[in-house]
């Protein structure tokens, strides 16, 4: 576009020109094919951007959280995000308790789904930030000692490079308000996060599911809860779970 009036096009299109300038531009538009065409392009673009799906509406859970927060009596200290994460965890607990009168399976499903969501959030966070690993090493004898003093338990760390799941490193993460060990493995180009934390419950066979296109699998063994999350195929994740639980 090389026309000398073109700079007014967006102001005209947005209805932000004063009356005199708008009339001037309108007169120009009658004789300028470039501007007429660009204006049609802008209309098409606006129509596309006006699609309701593009608008990110706040979820009901966020709305009720904010509502509760704004109506709560003001405290001396501004609650940090950890506070809200804790509240979210408490809310999840309530959710689980509400389900207590339902069947045990259903209850387990709710709890699983809730933890699965948190585990997958942690998995996604680890990919988005430059924070995939705190300790980057393919050596299990480097990764395992790294956790000493940082956690109140010792997560089992084994490299499965020979089986096609090389260890990449580890980091600390938070799931459900508690610090957990996150072990990072690769599967071809994909990342698998294995979250480990202690549990008082008895061993449980693997259960798996998907959430937002990501696969998760969980099991409990030897007083530890294991949750793995990844975008690999579910069968790969099951194979990974077999390897870890056998080690």
């Amino acid at each position: 576009m090389s026309c000398n009036q073109a700079s007014w096009l967006h102001g005209y299109f947005d209805g932000e020109l004063d009356a005199a300038r708008a009339a001037e531009f309108e007169a120009h538009l009658g004789g300028c094919a470039d501007c007429t065409r660009d204006l049609a392009t802008q209309e098409a673009l606006r129509k596309a951007l006006g699609t309701p799906e593009l608008y990110a509406r706040a979820r009901a859970s966020l709305r009720s959280r904010v509502k509760a927060q704004l109506s709560a009596p003001q405290t001396a200290h501004r609650p940090g995000r950890a506070y809200w994460r804790g509240l979210a965890a408490a809310a999840s607990l309530v959710l689980v308790l509400v389900g207590a009168w339902q069947t045990a399976t259903w209850r387990a499903d709710v709890a699983d789904r809730d933890v699965a969501k948190q585990v997958l959030d942690a998995h996604l966070r680890s990919l988005q930030l430059t924070h995939l690993t705190d300790v980057a090493s393919t050596d299990q004898h480097t990764v395992k000692p790294w956790f000493v003093g940082k956690l109140d338990f010792a997560p089992p760390v084994t490299d499965f490079a020979a089986e096609g799941f090389p260890l990449v490193g580890g980091r600390l993460d938070v799931v459900g308000g508690r610090s957990v060990a996150a072990l990072v493995y690769n599967r071809r180009k994909h990342v698998i996060n294995l979250f480990v934390w202690p549990s008082n419950d008895s061993d449980a066979a693997p259960r798996s599911g998907t959430h937002l296109g990501y696969a998760w699998i969980r099991w409990r063994r030897g007083g530890m809860d294991f949750w793995a999350a990844s975008d690999v195929a579910a069968s790969d994740l099951e194979e990974f779970a077999r390897l870890v639980s056998r080690s």
Partner: protein
């Protein structure tokens, strides 16, 4: 403030491009706006809230810089593509593609487009939220729209055999 929660979340979501972070940041901003309501001197409450959202998001983006900038659309690499109203209408009807193109814009251009087209803000409101002189809103929008057209055109070419 609560009636403007959608606006706050929408702006945060498009600025940080992550649902979970946007929820945290929108919530932080709402609380901040509520706390500092004493500092509100009347006028447009939504624009005032959005300004807080914007600043909260930029602080967060600043703290994670290096990982995110790289994902933004690079004009030099993709080059300018010729777009027509018709091809735009087709590209724009693909929600995923449109979202990708918008997310690929530099944050400063993305925000004026989101404020104008998704929030329906006036130039005056955009100037207030984005902290830019009102005289530069029109040229920012012009650049943002041009870049978005190019991004949609570039995607189209990429998909064509």
């Amino acid at each position: 403030m609560l009636p403007h929660l959608d606006s706050a979340y929408n702006l945060a979501r498009w600025l940080v491009r992550s649902d979970a972070e946007a929820e945290d940041l929108a919530q932080d901003s709402m609380l901040r706006a509520y706390r500092f309501f004493g500092g509100f001197r009347g006028g447009d409450a939504r624009a005032w809230l959005l300004k807080i959202v914007r600043n909260t998001c930029y602080s967060w983006l600043e703290s994670t810089r290096g990982t995110r900038d790289a994902a933004e659309f690079d004009e030099q690499i993709h080059g300018a593509a010729e777009v027509t109203p018709e091809s735009l209408a087709i590209a724009g009807s693909d929600r995923e593609r449109l979202a990708r193109a918008l997310e690929g814009l530099p944050a400063r251009l993305r925000e004026v487009l989101v404020l104008r087209e998704l929030e329906g803000c006036s130039y005056k409101e955009i100037a207030e939220v984005a902290g830019i002189p009102i005289g530069t809103v029109m040229s920012s929008l012009s650049r943002a729209r041009r870049r978005l057209e190019q991004a949609l055109g570039a995607e189209e070419r990429k998909e064509a055999p």
